[in-house]
């Protein structure tokens, strides 16, 4: 079977639109995931009473269920239970943020705990307050240490966004499915989809590498 380039060429506008949507969902997902993850990770690292059990429950729930099930739940079950309307895009972004947030929680917790407690002692001995120590010493050091695992998580989240084809969000993978149905050319379409994902994940990896280089891991 020959590879027909014109199929790829004709599908290009749809693919680009799908890639844009994938990028938007991913950015919202990892942005929200970072907010959730930093907050929850600090709660776990500093063993804040009571709330840490809520966080523990959240992380267990997300890590213990497939993301497809989470997407289905948020898109179909949640609106029914709460009697609200949720667009596919909103459900996808929310789902990705909640999912990434759980993993980022663990990344943040691990990074904070990996910082030598002697540095906190040194800060306390100088008369610094806990918030000051977190902001000027432990936080910056933990952030540097979390860059490599965060990059990993960002790439996983980007690829996980392909799953939202199950809730009909017109992101890249869903476009691939539709284009295949329209053209009957699975080879060309899925090759092109894969290349699009590769370009996006590779760019993300390069950005993380750049950040890593600009702040030496201590």
């Amino acid at each position: 079977m020959e590879f027909r380039w014109e199929v790829v060429w004709n599908a290009m506008p749809q693919m680009v639109a799908g890639a844009q949507l994938t990028a938007q969902i991913t950015l919202l997902g990892i942005g929200g995931g970072m907010l959730i993850g930093i907050l929850c990770g600090l709660i776990l690292a500093f063993r804040i009473p009571i709330v840490r059990w809520l966080v523990f429950g959240y992380v267990s729930l997300i890590r213990g269920t497939p993301i497809v099930v989470q997407a289905m739940f948020i898109y179909f079950a949640l609106p029914m239970a709460l009697d609200i309307a949720l667009s596919g895009f909103a459900a996808a972004s929310l789902c990705l943020a909640l999912n990434a947030g759980a993993y980022i929680t663990e990344i943040v917790r691990g990074s904070v705990l990996s910082i030598d407690p002697g540095l906190t002692d040194a800060g306390l001995a100088l008369g610094l307050s806990y918030p000051q120590i977190l902001l000027t010493i432990v936080g910056p050091l933990a952030l540097r240490r979390s860059v490599p695992p965060l990059g990993n998580q960002f790439i996983i989240s980007l690829k996980d966004s392909a799953l939202f084809l199950v809730i009909g969000v017109a992101e890249l993978a869903q476009r691939g499915e539709q284009l295949t149905a329209q053209t009957g050319r699975a080879l060309e379409i899925w090759t092109a989809v894969a290349v699009f994902y590769l370009i996006m994940t590779f760019s993300l990896a390069m950005i993380m590498r750049l950040i890593e280089r600009r702040m030496p891991i201590l």
């Binding site: 002697g118 306390l124 100088l126």
Partner: protein, 257 residues
């Protein structure tokens, strides 16, 4: 007025008693060297005095401020003591100067310019003016420990606490740190030093404390305790750390420590 006053200080870790009923009073200008076998509670005592460890029972007063008294925060008390750690514990992402300025800036609230002036003066005093813009990772162990001393001095503490400040250093780097400490002692700084450097104890200390199994066993001038150890336990300890030569005439610390 006494600078440090512990009464009946006791500390447990889990079910293990690490310090038992410690009574200790330190007057301004005293240079107190605490020695004892490993596990005797020396470091824990310093950590209690610097309010890094909560007491199990007993009282602690630093410069008249009593731990747990109304209106006295732990943070207030910690500012009165400067702590120098065995592992230096410098902030690795900050230059030597930033390590020294952070205390005055954040804990004392002095201006950026004033903090820099304090830092430059203290770095000069520990002989590291030309290393001010280096990160700790670029400094030798001895230089790092001297920065750590400058950092602790920068918040203007009433008492300096040293927790085995030379134990993590190669023998040839210990001298530069001990020299800085000796300088402080000469200037009248009140100091509490946990160390195995018996020569330093003999030369710089005004008072020597021997701890064993969480208790203060001996407490007196080094000139009296070292030549005639009052107990077999202390005599044996001095033999173990190579302190049989308290006159300090040239005996090197034993290898492997």
């Amino acid at each position: 007025m006494s600078l440090i006053q512990c009464r009946g200080l006791t500390k447990d870790f889990g079910g293990t008693r690490v310090l038992t009923d410690i009574d200790l009073t330190v007057e301004p200008g005293e240079v107190v060297v605490i020695v004892g076998p490993s596990g005797s509670g020396k470091s824990t005592l310093l950590r209690c005095i610097s309010v890094l460890e909560p007491l199990t029972s007993g009282t602690l007063e630093v410069d008249g401020q009593r731990l747990g008294a109304p209106g006295v925060s732990k943070r207030d008390m910690r500012r009165e003591t400067g702590m120098v750690f065995q592992q230096f514990n410098l902030f690795p992402h900050m230059t030597a100067r930033e390590n020294v300025t952070i205390g005055p800036r954040k804990a004392r609230g002095v201006s950026r310019r004033e903090a820099r002036r304090i830092a430059d003066r203290l770095l000069e005093r520990v002989g590291l003016t030309d290393r001010a813009d280096h990160l700790p990772g670029e400094l030798s162990g001895g230089q790092q420990q001297r920065v750590a001393i400058a950092r602790a001095l920068a918040v203007n503490p009433k008492v300096m606490l040293f927790d085995e400040p030379t134990s993590a250093l190669d023998p040839e780097l210990r001298g530069e740190v001990l020299q800085v400490m000796q300088g402080l002692a000469k200037e009248g700084m009140t100091m509490l030093i946990v160390t195995h450097e018996m020569r330093f104890a003999a030369e710089a200390a005004t008072r020597l404390i021997f701890m064993d199994e969480g208790r203060i066993v001996h407490d007196g001038p080094p000139g009296r305790l070292l030549p005639e150890p009052p107990s077999e336990r202390f005599r044996q300890f001095l033999g173990d750390v190579g302190g049989k030569d308290p006159s300090g005439t040239g005996e090197k610390p034993p290898p492997g420590r």
